[in-house]
């Protein structure tokens, strides 16, 4: 520990200047981040529509594991992944038309994606927020995101409703054809059998009537489903119980939402300063522990410097192998130099 403390003392001014620079820059950046960050937040109450009002209550894809809030939050997060959604959001704000060319647009959308945040606050409560440099833009972004989400959900609901209705209509048409056919068979049977019926004939007639009754019940059920498929989404929309905005996004007048990024900046600056200082001390201690020159030999007392052998420069052939040449001089046979140089 001693050498490191000694090095730290030796470089205290440099360390102080470096720490002041790094930490100071970090603190300034954090302050700037805090004072120029405005977050707008909307609080939303969500709940699932009753199964009776669901578009298709038998749909196996309808999840029951997630809470209503987390389901809506994950829907938001999925929508944020789509550039088209973000484009629609931006189009509803003052930023409309500022996205620029394709490359700039991609960067801008990625930036917006990072700033939009959905958070579940409870089983039925969630918040949607946008953090930006401009308070009014932040509010506009939240409002726009909610509006576009509503639009998308409504569109999806209409599409799902028309698909389900189409399916039910086809099933209804098929059932109606079946019912007509069975009705015709019953009437033909009645026309062809005036007198008392045998057991076999009675059984056949009962079968036909039973089949006709079943098809008619099925037709009634299908008509009910068609009505439900058309009316349920409309009822959900009208009631507004599925997605209620409790607190609208506001235009903040004081900085908000910049505490975390500012704290992160401060932490990074502190850590970077500490790491740089540690590196400086470490490198300084290592270098100080090398024999830097004649002056440092004094640190080896009682051993003393007797003489120095100067560094031999380079000649035209590159670095000179001094020992090879000395060996050639001393043991002049042709092999001496090459033997030494080979090692």
């Amino acid at each position: 520990m001693g050498p490191y403390l000694k090095t730290a003392r030796r470089y205290r001014w440099l360390l102080g200047a470096m720490l002041a620079l790094v930490w100071g820059a970090g603190l300034v950046a954090a302050y700037s981040e805090y004072t120029t960050t405005f977050e707008s937040e909307a609080i939303i109450w969500v709940q699932r529509a009753p199964p009776q009002l669901a578009g298709n209550p038998e749909d196996p894809n309808v999840t029951v594991v997630q809470t209503a809030a987390s389901q809506q939050a994950s829907l938001f997060n999925q929508l944020f992944l789509a550039d088209s959604f973000l484009r629609d959001v931006v189009a509803r704000t003052s930023l409309n038309g500022t996205l620029g060319n394709a490359v700039q647009e991609r960067k801008a959308l990625d930036d917006i994606r990072k700033r939009l945040r959905v958070q579940t606050l409870g089983t039925n409560l969630l918040s949607l927020s946008f953090t930006g440099r401009d308070a009014s833009i932040a509010r506009e972004m939240v409002d726009a995101a909610l509006a576009v989400r509503g639009q998308r959900v409504a569109q999806a609901r209409v599409t799902a409703t028309s698909q389900i209705s189409g399916l039910y209509q086809k099933q209804l048409a098929l059932g109606q054809a079946q019912a007509l056919d069975l009705q015709r068979q019953v009437e033909e049977f009645d026309q062809n059998h005036d007198g008392p019926l045998s057991d076999l004939e009675q059984r056949r007639r009962d079968q036909l009537r039973l089949a006709l009754d079943y098809v008619q019940i099925r037709l009634g059920d299908l008509r009910g489903r068609i009505d439900q498929a058309v009316l349920a989404p409309a009822l959900v929309d009208v009631s507004g119980s599925e997605f209620q905005i409790l607190d609208e996004a506001r235009e903040e007048t004081v900085p908000r939402g910049g505490v975390k990024p500012a704290a992160l900046l401060v932490t990074i600056a502190l850590a970077a300063g500490a790491v740089l200082a540690a590196l400086l001390v470490l490198v300084g201690a290592l270098l100080a522990d090398r024999l830097a020159g004649p002056a440092t030999v004094g640190r080896l007392a009682p051993a003393r410097l007797f003489a120095t052998v100067p560094r031999v420069g380079t000649d035209g052939r590159g670095k000179r192998d001094l020992r090879a040449e000395l060996a050639l001089i001393a043991f002049e046979d042709a092999g001496a130099g090459s033997r030494a140089a080979g090692r």
Binding site: V297, A307, P310, L326, I329
Partner: protein
């Protein structure tokens, strides 16, 4: 000035200080390998041979990596180890280098003997003494402490070669501590960026 003279001039400062200090036997070691010990020993031996009007014996005592022996192509020849094991007379083991007044003693068969205080003492007091100067190339202290310590108390001066800007000081301190309090090695700073002329204040006064 010839190329050889230019090269040996690199070690002139060191050789002059050894000469001025009156050291007759010097050894070169280091804390770690790669510090340039062998090069310094070889260069110093060449410079001393040119400087002193007497023979210089260069001894390869690097039991771990006998590079000088390999440079001289004497891997299979007898040498110091054989002499310490009393398997050969010194005169028969010496090789005269191509430079005047420079003799070389290879490491020899390292399996037959290890350097011990007694054997080295009699080695240095024996016929080796007839050579004006003995320059010994030793292995790094931390890797081959057992091969360095016996020499430390017998040589006039043990030099620890350190490479400027590369050798970690804690490692050097550890190596110096291994040598013990009896040996006071001196430092030879290798590959120094500062010109020798600028070092006068840093160099301790030499014994004359």
């Amino acid at each position: 000035m010839t190329g050889a003279a230019q090269l040996t001039r690199v070690f002139e400062g060191l050789a002059s200080r050894i000469d001025a200090s009156g050291f007759r036997s010097v050894g070169f070691t280091s804390a770690l390998s790669g510090e340039g010990t062998t090069t310094t020993a070889l260069g110093t031996a060449l410079s001393l041979a040119a400087l002193r009007d007497e023979t210089v014996l260069l001894v390869d005592a690097n039991w771990l990596q006998p590079s000088l022996t390999a440079d001289a192509g004497a891997e299979k020849a007898g040498g110091l180890a054989d002499h310490l094991a009393t398997r050969g007379e010194l005169a028969g083991l010496l090789r005269w280098a191509s430079r005047p007044r420079l003799a070389f003693l290879p490491v020899g068969d390292r399996a037959v003997a290890r350097p011990s205080l007694r054997a080295l003492s009699s080695f240095l007091a024996g016929k080796v003494a007839s050579h004006g100067t003995v320059v010994v190339d030793l292995p790094p202290i931390l890797a081959g402490e057992a091969f360095v310590l016996p020499w430390a108390g017998l040589l006039d001066q043990l030099f620890v070669v350190l490479r400027e800007g590369a050798t970690p000081l804690p490692v050097v301190r550890q190596a110096l501590a291994r040598l013990g309090p009896s040996a006071t090695p001196q430092i030879v700073l290798n590959r120094a960026a500062v010109a020798a002329a600028d070092l006068a204040p840093a160099l301790h006064p030499v014994r004359v």
